[in-house]
Amino acid sequence: MSAHTPEVSAAKARRWGSFYFAEHMLRSMRAYLVTIIVTSVGNPLLYLFSMGVGLASIVDRSSSGQGAAAHGAFDGVGYLAFAAPALLVSSAVMTSANEMMFPVMDGFKWRRIYYGPHVTPLVPGQLAAGHIMAVGVRLLIQSLVFFFIMLLFGAAPGPWSWLLVPLGVLTGMAFGAPLMAYSAHIEKENFQFSMIQRFIVMPLFLFSATFYPLATMPIGMQWIGWISPLWHGNQLGRIVSYGLAEPGWLVVVHVLYLAVLWGVGIWWARRNYTKRMGK
């Protein structure tokens, strides 16, 4: 009986290294598995109930004439159906943001988990790719759970609603990958992550047409939505979930914008990982 020769191991690592590292990351998430489960089931339940049922009660009372739904503000669907896809996409973005800040710093600085694999034939680009893949898997599972809870609430009316699941991953990554690149480049942590949380993640959640259409905001604030990956994801989510009528060119813009952010994010992250590990 013999193990692989070092040459074989090295060749395997060069070929499959990002997957090996992704597996490692996923296994290490088991340390906070309970938190993951509780939040990925609890958050959709709480938000869908609070927004879709509670808030809907004052938004939907359109019979009196002055309610919003009467004017078609929510695309002619109930508030629950309007808000639910955006809540799914938002929660993917928030999870991705969390996974791409402290854990990245952890890999480089605190627990230095990237340095072990780095002495094997794995290259830094593979570490970045593996980390991204692991977060992608988490986003996939979380979006799937969220989607099933939406079904329970009757909040996913269209036949293409299930596309929300890959869409959650896409939007989460479009925000998370560039953030990962940024985190990889921070040498000394001076509250950057708290600032990102407060001044980027939170405002994006609030101003990306999550709770009402973007056109409702004064024009001076609409630009936040235009540059926000979350807005593009929310719009796509509404298209697949209940058939929001969006011009074809804009759909292309939404998809392209997210794909480009993701692609550039990965490229930039790999570059920063290589630079950082080379130090």
Binding site: Y32, T35, T39, G42, L46, V53, V59, L206, Y212, T216
Partner: protein, 276 residues
Amino acid sequence: MSVLTDDDYAIAPSRRPFGALYSGNTQAVVERGFRVIKSQNWIILVSGFFEPVFYLLSMGIGLGSLVGAVEGPGGAQISYAAYIAPALLAVSAMNGAIYDSTWNVFFKMHFGKIYQGMLYTSLGPLDIAMGEIVMALFRGFLYALGFTGVMALMGLVTTPWALLLVPASVMVAFGFASFGMAVTSYMKTFQQMDMITFFMLPMFLFSATFYPLSVYPLPVQWIVQAFPLWHGVELMRQISIGVFSPATWVHLLYYAAMILVGVSFTTRRLRSLFLR
């Protein structure tokens, strides 16, 4: 030259009430808190102010223009922004106090070992508890002042009673801060700390913050009414338009009781943790 005897070294027991718990030097703990703010985390402190403001802008302006007027305390019709603003202030008082008295305390307890150091001096557990709470309240006071200013700028302040929003939100913060520290003392790991979020998010979402309580079936209403944030939200909402009812007293008493129980709970916990 006289020779010192054992008697000269004996420490006389304090004759003040609670002498073992309290040395009357809360200010030392507070002073340390201010030094820390000055030297490192003032930016975190300042940035916390923006969260409720973002919520107010997003929900108040955006959603408000779609919702129109809603029924405020006493049946008056008020704008949606005016409806949620005092509630957001209560939420922000809760968040500020809870984060200050949980995460902050958690780090000081387990990593910095700050309290152990303090207790080796003449400081007692009550000094520390009060000192930390004063710091949390100071933060709550700043946020409340700023947020009330933003409300005024947005034209949401229509009565002089609104000035009471500031002390009221300090009281709400006091209620939460006094409990936060005691609860934190039971937490050993980061994962357990997540329980706090798990408790706060539903409170935030369900305490009549964004829509009236009447949405819920009666049993759910009772549960919500048992939670502290709901009392804070209602109290602030009443103050913001200057319409009071007998229920105002209930809200005030709820917080008074919460503060009393919380402070004594925290003191006992600190004592049993460190002065075994």
